[in-house]
Symmetry: C2
Subunit: 495 residues, 2 copies
């Protein structure tokens, strides 16, 4: 335990999870570690759910992003989560959000701590942070994610640390904790390449603030992604052909530009596709590092990856963790404020690859709301990246639910990314390069290149009739959302 | 003329506007100066319109933003403008855009030159730039706007300069021309306060590139804004009460934070409201500096203003220009890439005040498309600022067209700014502080505080019925755009 809790005075703060959880009172704002199912505190939230069985206990729960181990489900079903920000991806919590039982504040992931710091939103009363170790000075060494943990711990008056002995001590040195100076005296954030190290390897807080230490031993949840299939392989193929063309046109060289890839199956599959490509010396400046990051490193394609978390499948985890030292010099985990920061994303000129639920013929993207109303996960970092990237690419399968849904629609039922922030759309059928095009031109490309063949005539007919009515962005307003109305009423978009 | 064209060798390039315009060929991409009706080249575009009467001549026209002197109308009606980017505000051009005759590429104003530089869009064949003077080294001293002029002149192989002797030589030293280093080696943009000077007082280009010099003598068009009225005064009043409250809550002090204010009547009126407020030592980091900037300086409230252009009413212009030296040390004009840069906007922590055409109950904003289809002006810089500001405020009158239109609607017919980018909404009826709220909570505030009283019952009824259907962002999809359909069909939104 000396190597996990190096400040001797702190050993007396070790206590059970229920004892630590007792510090969390009804109505508090709690900032917990955890980002894309990696590095979340677990013992204390489980103790909270237990306590809520016998006493009123409702909190505002802030995290980095999604939690593993069904924690969001457990906390929602125990009615502990009254308010939740800035992201989630849990079916149980999702149900409660869509029923209006939990107030979900869906945010750009780079912005939450900026709002906390300027007290635009209620402050964190207590932080609960998973750590690999605590240094002699009280510094917290995070585990498989940084997320918002650093700012939560710095801003909260009290911190509960969960020391997770299942997380390897070899994580030490992986993290780069940098907090921007406060405005009005903020200086530039000095990240100038994906591998810039600008901060400390631990979260610096005064040891007095550590109110409790709980010992745990748990593995991260495994990534919930599907292996590549024919469609995701086709998407990857179109993208690689596009990159080859960019290189041929002299717009980039074979090292491309630093890559960001969103969460989920499709983005992971697209990165996988780069293994068999002529590109090399690639770098990532992304949010979550998935299996594909390590596969690309193993294939000798990727020389560096910066992210805010590592989320692997069970198999990949079993391979990577024992030999983690071999990867460590090529990895940095940063606070999500920095991994997603508009300043850095724009400076580095990323190629941002994110997933759409649906797109419309003009290139607007819905990443969050099924039928314009039902929250799926949240906007996450997609806005941070899409707005500021060199190239903003959205990928999606052209249909969903066995063909009952066209993911290319006349008008998206909810807008997360406007046409200004969408350069390239890709489905298994092809790629639409929308750069420099006006809406009427964009529509033709999106319909012809991206929609599923069976939906093209309907989309083309809509667009032609809309153009007759006129406008810069022509629409037949009474039909614009009719595909979604049909889906809601009949379970399919087909007329 | 020696003081206007200081490089003697360049005197031989002086020619008539039609001679210079002859260098512009059919199909070219032309980058012209001009931003919010300030500092546009005029003689050459007028010569182009003339020439188009007798020969086929279609160009892609890029500018900083809107042009004065009806140039956009004249060029559109002469069918010279085939493609147009990144902004416009001309009724004649607007008609052609909405008829599908001119392809308009509506862009975030900070992004156009980034796309040019990386060759994501076709390059500028020739630049036409209004200047106060040319230095000995060939440097171009801009006039009342910088806009995209610097990058156009640097990137184009040929430059036509219009020396406008009506623009005072006292503009020299006003501008701060900085071009970010090219990626992948880009360094931080070193603006750390609104008054940071980081560049040159002229646009540096080799004098050989100056292919023609045309002498002109013209005033800028006057600002087309209305004086404050009862409603805009009420909006200003609500905002000032809000700022007072922010100060009382300790979130800012009486100097507030650097201010950005959008184009148009309402934003100008809001700034005007600050004259009779307890705030002092204010600074602006904005795009266009309107009458209100100078009024605030005269009132001793504003100590510094950074922008990309100066657009004044006739009366204000007559007062300011003769004594320009008195203001100059408190002013900087920058390229719009820098005045609007996400990196700088986020670093400085601006209070961004922009105008909405319509807002919806969940706080999404439409700034551009009447009835979701008809382009008004363009997104302009509103996205650059709203996304990255400390506080993103949108203002609007609660109704339009004599009450026939509610500017608060169930669902905006076009989204320019999503709920994530909108902190505060203000109409003459009140202010909705949406920070940290979930969509269902936002709706109650928007309806109660911002909608016109006669529209509140309809909006509340919609929202209540939508909540019964469920969802994180509840909607009755078949009714969501029905107010706009009624407006289109009957000329009013009333049922
Ligand atoms: C959009 C997003 C949900 C896609 O996830 P994914 O795992 O790659 O994609 P899938 O195709 O498996 O789709 C996920 C689900 O949405 C459904 N779906 C896809 N398109 C749909 C559509 N147009 N309408 C309704 N449902 C749709 C799928 O059927 C699937 O449902 P299931 O869970 O019941 O099987 C996910 O990428 C996301 O949450 N994005 C927003 C956050 C983000 O982009 N972050 C990026 C920075 S990390
Ligand atoms: C939104 C915008 C058009 C408002 O301009 P404004 O001059 O302040 O506001 P006004 O209330 O005078 O409205 C302008 C016109 O829109 C009309 N209008 C306003 N709300 C409307 C609505 N909900 N539906 C239809 N028309 C509406 C007005 O009636 C007026 O029409 P008119 O020209 O026929 O009189 C303008 O601010 C804009 O173009 N914004 C986008 C760009 C931007 O924000 N840049 C900011 C960074 S500089």
């Amino acid at each position: 335990m000396q190597d996990r809790i190096r400040n001797a005075a702190l050993h007396q703060r070790i206590m059970s999870a229920p004892e630590a959880a007792a510090m969390i009172k009804d109505g508090m704002v709690v900032g917990m570690s955890g980002f894309t199912r990696a590095g979340e505190a677990m013992a204390v939230p489980l103790a909270l759910a237990e306590r809520a069985k016998t006493e009123p206990l409702k909190i505002t729960l802030m995290t980095g992003a999604s939690l593993g181990h069904d924690l969001d489900k457990i906390l929602a079903e125990a009615h502990v989560t009254a308010r939740r920000m800035p992201f989630q991806s849990d079916p149980g919590l999702r149900r409660a959000i869509n029923a209006g039982e939990v107030m979900f504040i869906d945010q750009h992931l780079s912005e939450t701590v900026e709002q906390l710091r300027t007290r635009q939103i209620p402050g964190v009363d207590i932080a609960v942070i998973e750590a690999a170790a605590i240094t002699e000075e009280g510094g917290i060494i995070p585990t498989s994610s940084v997320g918002n943990s650093a700012s939560f711990a710095i801003l909260a008056p009290k911190v509960i640390v969960e020391i997770n002995t299942a997380q390897p001590l070899s994580f030490e040195g992986l993290h780069d904790i940098f907090i921007p100076t406060y405005r009005p005296n903020r200086m530039p954030i000095p990240v100038v390449t994906p591998d810039s190290r600008i901060g400390l390897p631990y979260i610096p807080i005064p040891p007095e603030k550590i109110a409790a230490i709980v010992l745990t031993h748990k593995q991260d949840s495994s990534a919930a992604i599907q292996p590549p299939d024919d469609e995701t392989r086709a998407i990857a193929g179109h993208l690689i052909a596009f990159f080859l063309n960019e290189v041929a046109a002299g717009r980039m060289d074979n090292r491309l530009a630093p890559l960001q890839a969103g969460i989920g199956t499709i983005a992971n599959a697209v990165l996988h596709g780069l293994i068999d490509s002529p590109f090399h010396d690639l770098k990532m400046y992304s949010e979550v590092l998935q299996d594909s990051t390590f596969d690309l490193m193993d294939a000798g394609k990727l020389t560096f990856a910066s992210g805010s978390s590592i989320t692997l499948s069970e198999a990949k985890n079993a391979q990577v963790m024992p030999e983690f030292e071999r990867y460590k010099s090529r990895l940095i985990l940063r606070p999500q404020e920095i991994s997603n920061h508009p300043e850095v994303v724009r400076r580095l000129g990323l190629i941002a690859i994110n997933t759409a639920l649906e797109v419309d013929i003009y290139g607007n993207v819905n990443s969050t709301h099924v039928m314009g109303t039902q929250m799926m996960n949240g906007i996450g970092g997609s806005g941070d990246f899409a707005r500021n990237a060199l190239l903003s690419i959205f990928v999606s399968k052209s249909t969903a639910k066995g063909g009952r849904i066209s993911s290319v629609v006349p008008m998206v039922s909810h807008v997360d990314h406007t046409e200004h922030d969408v350069d390239i759309l890709v489905t298994e059928h092809g790629l639409a390069d929308l750069r420099g095009l006006a809406p009427r031109e964009r529509a033709l490309r999106v319909i012809d290149n991206c929609a599923a063949p069976e939906w093209r005539p309907l989309l083309a007919d809509y667009h032609a009739r809309a153009c007759k009515l006129g406008g810069h962005t022509p629409h037949v307003l009474e039909e614009a959302l009719s595909w979604h109305v049909r889906l809601r009423d009949t379970g399919r978009m087909q007329p």
